[in-house]
């Protein structure tokens, strides 16, 4: 670590408020060349605000020095870009109607004149090849058509690509939330090599393993302040969770390991096996938590949408008994109503049972919103605030509340823990378990091994087909990985 040298950027007593909400209450942080800073903290601790500030998205009070010069008053996105400070946002910032190459051009204004599209395409593909070998993305793909994992890969590669302005400090906000384990490890390896060449990376993640593996220094934020700052080597998982201020649970301890015999009764959800490819059929009974595993984007989300659409209809090959609700993982595209309040976002799926005569019962919707604010811990002074006033993780909690608060007997979860902090995750796992015991059925697409341990039964997907079926006693990381990669390995 080159701590003696001038930091690329340093913050001194920086504060930022949004209306009555004080997002940052005096933050000190210095980013040096050749180090990777792991930034952790609960949802709403101020991590995303801090990185927006570093990227120059909005101004703040306090002292901001870039290369030793105080430029707080003049700091903007353009200044940040000129000094090689790049940002990969949690809510991706690509234009969905443009191609991968065109999106690369947006950041690199020097790509002009004849053949800019070709040069932009080469620039971004070279970087993709370097960070994610075997990524399968083409420069002429329309970004909106790509699944979220690939969009994230493009966004990451774009942040690291270099034309006239250098890339010295790259801030990654939850970069692996949409990536599976394989892609995440590719990214972390690249981060280490970037740092070794003298770059600086600020890595924000709720996956503490990543922070400990890739970070040189760990910065813990809580309630808009930096509360702990120490070398990563000083931490282990438990002490890091403790530093964030929540009690460490041994994951999987509360997940029973005994196999429960699968019910003989008629299942809630049955998806017939693919006639050409063969493989097992997908079955979910009352009170079961069924995991859909495999690498990211292998058809798990599509399967959930198929089941969702089949509910209440006579669909071919898919039988669903009772109502279904869905927790979206890609919350911008599939979940949030951006112009509405938190309360309106939560109650939309339950309005039909909260009517008095032809009108919606305002008292009932308010009660439901307040109830879920308490139960799932949404951090807001008022549930009538706009949903976009919440941090990403808290928006995700609202989507959970929407589905769990509905009367649907089956809940489909499409990689729902993106951007949710570890404390909340534990609470939500507990909630899911309790709801399942009360008779609800869950279908849960996740790429996290830790989350699969909460499932009663797991189906592994590869290339849009189910390739393996594992009961809880059979479930091991090796088996899931083996099934995920069978043809490649």
């Amino acid at each position: 670590m080159a701590s003696a040298a001038t930091p690329i950027i340093s913050l001194n007593g920086v504060e930022k408020s949004f209306g009555a909400v004080r997002a940052l209450r005096g933050v000190d942080l210095a980013c040096h060349a050749g180090e990777c800073i792991g930034l952790v903290g609960h949802n709403g601790a101020g991590k995303s605000t801090l990185m927006n500030l570093l990227a120059g998205v909005f101004p703040a009070e306090g002292r901001i020095e870039v290369d030793g010069k105080d430029i707080a008053s003049r700091y903007s996105v353009a200044t940040a870009q000129a000094h090689g400070i790049r940002c990969v946002f949690q809510e991706l910032s690509l234009c969905p109607n443009l191609t991968v190459a065109e999106n690369a051009r947006i950041m690199h204004a020097s790509l002009r004149g004849f053949g800019w599209r070709k040069r932009a395409g080469k620039l971004i593909l070279d970087k993709l090849d370097e960070v994610f070998p075997g990524h399968g993305i083409s420069a002429s793909d329309i970004v909106g058509d790509l699944p979220i994992a690939r969009r994230q890969m493009v966004e990451i590669a774009r942040a690291f690509s270099v034309t006239t302005a250098p890339a010295r400090l790259v801030i990654l906000d939850e970069p692996t939330s949409s990536l599976d384990a394989h892609l995440a490890s590719q990214l972390l390896a690249y981060v280490r090599s970037f740092v070794a060449k003298g770059g600086c990376v600020v890595l924000i993640s709720h996956l503490l393993g990543e922070i400990l593996a890739a970070g040189d220094r760990v910065v813990v934020m809580k309630d808009g302040k930096v509360v702990v700052e120490r070398p990563a080597a000083d931490f282990n998982r438990t002490s890091l969770v403790a530093a964030m201020g929540s009690v460490a649970h041994d994951e999987g301890a509360n997940a029973a390991t005994a196999d429960t015999k699968r019910s003989e009764t008629e299942p809630r959800v049955r998806v017939a096996a693919d006639r050409q490819a063969g493989g097992p059929e997908l079955i979910a009974h009352q009170g079961e938590i069924v995991g859909l595993a495999g690498l990211g984007g292998q058809g798990q989300s599509e399967m959930l949408i198929r089941i969702f659409d089949a509910a209440g209809k006579n669909a071919r090959n898919v039988t669903v008994v009772g109502g279904v609700a869905l927790v979206a993982g890609d919350r911008q595209t599939d979940g949030v109503f951006p112009l509405w309040s938190i309360a309106e976002n939560i109650t939309i799926s339950s309005l039909r049972r909260m009517r008095r005569g032809p009108l919606i019962d305002g008292a009932a919707t308010e009660a439901m919103a307040e109830d879920w604010k308490q139960r799932i811990g949404i951090r807001t002074p008022d549930m009538n605030n706009p949903i976009l006033s919440l941090s990403g993780g808290n928006q995700q909690k609202a989507l959970f509340a929407r589905a769990l608060g509905s009367d649907a007997q089956t809940v489909l979860m499409d990689d729902p823990m993106r951007g949710v902090d570890i404390g909340t995750k534990q609470e939500v796992y507990g909630m899911i378990r309790a709801e399942a015991e009360a008779g609800r059925t869950f279908l849960w697409y996740t790429t996290e091994m830790d989350e699969l341990k909460h499932c009663d039964h797991v189906y592994v997907f590869r290339d849009h087909h189910i390739v393996a079926e594992l009961s809880r006693s059979e479930l091991t990381e090796e088996k899931v990985l083996h099934a995920s990669f069978a043809e490649v390995a």
């Binding site: 109502g323 869905l326 949030v336 109503f337 112009l339 509405w340 309106e344 309005l351 039909r352």
Partner: protein, 319 residues
């Protein structure tokens, strides 16, 4: 904290406020010229003519709320068709007034179903679908009515021109209608669904909203209101004519926008329609009063509309 500032703050935050402020200002400037004389008559006329545009504006507002690309361009043709069919069916007989109304509304239902069939079955974008269907509807009206002007039943003509204390009875009915449609938009499941679809159609589907039925209902509603407008308008103006709907295409869209609703959908209000309709009428009256020529009148109308929209959107941004 006392209640008054809270009330004012809430009022100022209403997106429809600007349309009413603008209408009142224009009215004041107008009667300033006449020295206070004729103010009441101007208002009566404004309410009379605003009534018809508010009726179609309500339908257009629901369609626009459905989100980007949703707009009903077949409103003028539907007005013409409903007016032509209704006057012919009623054949100047007072006893057939109700039959005429039902026939006019039925024309609306048929047009709405046809529009939505084009949109959903043939996957034509709503702008093109309603534009092309408007040609078909207009041709039907021409073929059916052959351009012969039939007088409306006397009772209908009386009703549409009746006044109480200088206030048109029809305007009072449509104010009540607007109030009901505002409640439908805010306080019913259907209204919430329309607004949800306008913000994010995919998210709405995945939240359990019946997207197809909600959109279908909105398009049928818009056409039915156009049918109602055609029926009343033919009573008001002494019979139907083939160009009677013309001006209502741009007016209906302008009302939605000036009234403070978002053209991009998902954020709408009905009260603004009345403010906007009065404003549009009063602007023309004002410019006429001051003796502006046609060219200058169009120019000023355009500039004033732009000014109101800018003022309203500036408010939204600072909120």
């Amino acid at each position: 904290m006392n209640a008054e500032p809270g009330f004012i703050r809430r009022l100022v935050a209403k997106p429809w406020l600007w349309a009413y402020v603008a209408a009142a200002a224009v009215w004041l400037v107008t009667i300033l010229f006449t020295g206070g004389r004729g103010g009441g008559e101007v208002l009566t006329a404004a309410f009379t003519f605003a009534t018809f545009s508010v009726i179609v504006g309500i339908g257009q507002l629901y369609v626009v709320t459905l989100g980007p690309g949703n707009v009903d361009l077949s409103i003028p043709a539907t007005i013409t068709l409903a007016g032509a069919v209704a006057t012919k069916v009623m054949d100047t007989q007072d006893g057939l007034i109700l039959v005429g109304l039902i026939v006019a509304l039925a024309c609306g239902v048929a047009v709405g179903c046809f529009n939505y069939a084009l949109i959903i079955i043939l996957r034509i974008p709503p702008i093109i679908a309603t534009l092309s269907s408007s040609f078909l509807i207009q041709s039907t009206a021409i073929a059916y009515g052959r351009g012969i002007r039939i007088k409306p039943p006397a009772a209908l003509a009386d009703f549409t021109t009746a006044q109480v204390l200088g206030m048109p009875v029809l305007a009072l009915c449509v104010i009540a209608l607007a109030a009901v449609m505002e409640i439908v938009l805010r306080r019913t499941v259907y209204g919430r669904w329309v607004t949800a679809i306008g913000q994010n159609m995919r998210a709405a589907r995945l939240a359990g909203v019946n997207v197809g039925r909600t959109r279908f209902t909105a398009y049928v509603m818009s056409a039915v209101f156009a049918g109602l407008c055609g029926y009343l308008l033919s009573g008001f103006s002494g019979g139907s004519s083939l160009s009677m709907g013309e001006e209502y295409l741009l007016t209906s869209i302008a009302l939605v926008v000036i009234g403070g609703s978002s053209v991009a959908g998902g954020y709408s209000n009905v009260p603004g329609l009345w403010g906007a309709a009065l404003f549009l009428f009063l602007v023309v009256t004002m410019l006429n009063t001051y003796g502006f020529g046609a060219g200058l009148r169009y120019l000023s109308t355009g500039l004033i509309i732009i000014a109101v929209i800018v003022a309203a959107s500036a408010r939204k941004a600072t909120r």
